[in-house]
Amino acid sequence: MIVSFLNEYGSALITAILTHIKFVVISVSVGFIIAFILGIVLSRLPKLSSIVIPILSVFQTIPGLVFIGVLFLYTGIQDLTVIIALSIYAIFPILKNTYVGLITVDKTLIEAARGCGMNKFQILIRVELPLASAAIVSGIRMSTIYTVSWAVLAAMIGLGGLGEFIYRGIDTNDTALIVGGAIPAALLALAFGFIIDKIQDKLTPRGLKRE
């Protein structure tokens, strides 16, 4: 069965996986750059962030489907629609984790750093960001896994990816198509999670690892 499925859909499946990966990688990268910068800026501006962070949390409750839907109404069927929607969605977890990671850095360490004569930029680079890195990476992990999930929706507006298999399978009640799309999608999400865990493990200095 698997052989015949691959014979029939093999190349389409590979294209779908690559499209899916493209959506995820581009969106998470764009989301990360925006979120990382915003997170640092917000962590310096407690007053502003006491307003912005709750608003962002509300935005985060909006399902990705809606983002794609709304953008679709304005920008029509094109890759950019999906990438913009997914990037926006990828921003939230990374932004929140960057912000929380930075503001929860032990204040005595910052005072120690100031006492050593570091300027604000040096404190950020040498103390705060390394200490927040675990939180930031776990934000990236969350965003990536969400994005794999939401990228399935790209198919809804006809832009391919693994969602195409799933949607078509559901519509035509074709079990093979559903499974053929669902399993690679699941594996893709797990693989992304695994790779990020490994990277995090490599990057974390021994002094910050738990047990």
């Binding site: 409750t61 999930s149 799933i166 559901i170 559903i178 999608a185 999400a189």
Partner: protein, 197 residues
């Protein structure tokens, strides 16, 4: 926006919540008491949450068809992680001295769980439940694709017929629903926390 879809969505969330609570607690308590299976349980619920929602729903649909049940099962599987994890964490962090004292008073394992451990862990568990509920509202949107109805249907239709205002209303309904659940449960959470101190 069809009111019926809104009601359906709330039904989805509430019914799933009940099952998530029951299954999550059982798995959590099992994981807490049997250290050998804890790793496996946590890994499975973690994997379940990693799988894209639509993929998960698609696979469940193969067995249960395009029904309400399919969506509920999907939501439950997807939102188990916070409940299981928080149950284990909540139970783990109880001071061993308290457990020793309870044992010293002659409580059996089950009595201790019901009278001492569970009440002490409950605030943490409740936080897990809150996360699960708010997640499930978002997951419910996918229900429409596999025939489960809910606000997902409204949104899908709105996108198909390019009706911005209905799309907006449905989104607003979802956001408000999340906020209300979050708000109410946060209030309860604070009370629980206050009691503990």
């Amino acid at each position: 926006m069809a009111l019926q879809n809104l009601i359906e969505h709330i039904q989805l969330v509430l019914i799933s919540f009940v099952f998530t609570g029951i299954v999550g607690l059982i798995l959590g308590i099992v994981g807490y008491n049997f250290k050998k299976v804890r790793g496996i349980i946590l890994m499975i619920v973690d994997v379940l949450q990693t799988i894209p929602v639509l993929a998960l729903l698609g696979i469940i649909m193969i067995f249960f068809g395009p029904t309400f049940t399919t969506v509920v099962i999907g939501i439950v599987l997807y939102s188990l992680l916070p409940v299981v994890r928080n149950t284990i964490v909540g139970l783990e962090q109880i001071d061993p001295a308290i457990i020793e004292a309870a044992t010293g008073m002659g409580m059996g394992k089950f009595q201790r769980l019901v009278k001492v451990e569970f009440p002490l862990a409950f605030p943490v568990i409740f936080t897990g439940l809150k996360i699960a509920v708010v997640t499930s509202i978002g997951i419910g949107v996918f229900g429409a694709v596999v025939g489960g109805g809910g606000l997902g249907s409204t949104i899908n239709t709105a996108i198909r017929i390019q009706d911005g205002s209905v799309l907006f209303q449905a989104t607003l309904a979802l956001v408000i629903m999340s906020l209300v659940f979050d708000f109410v449960m946060t209030l309860v959470e604070r009370r629980l926390d206050y009691n503990r101190k």
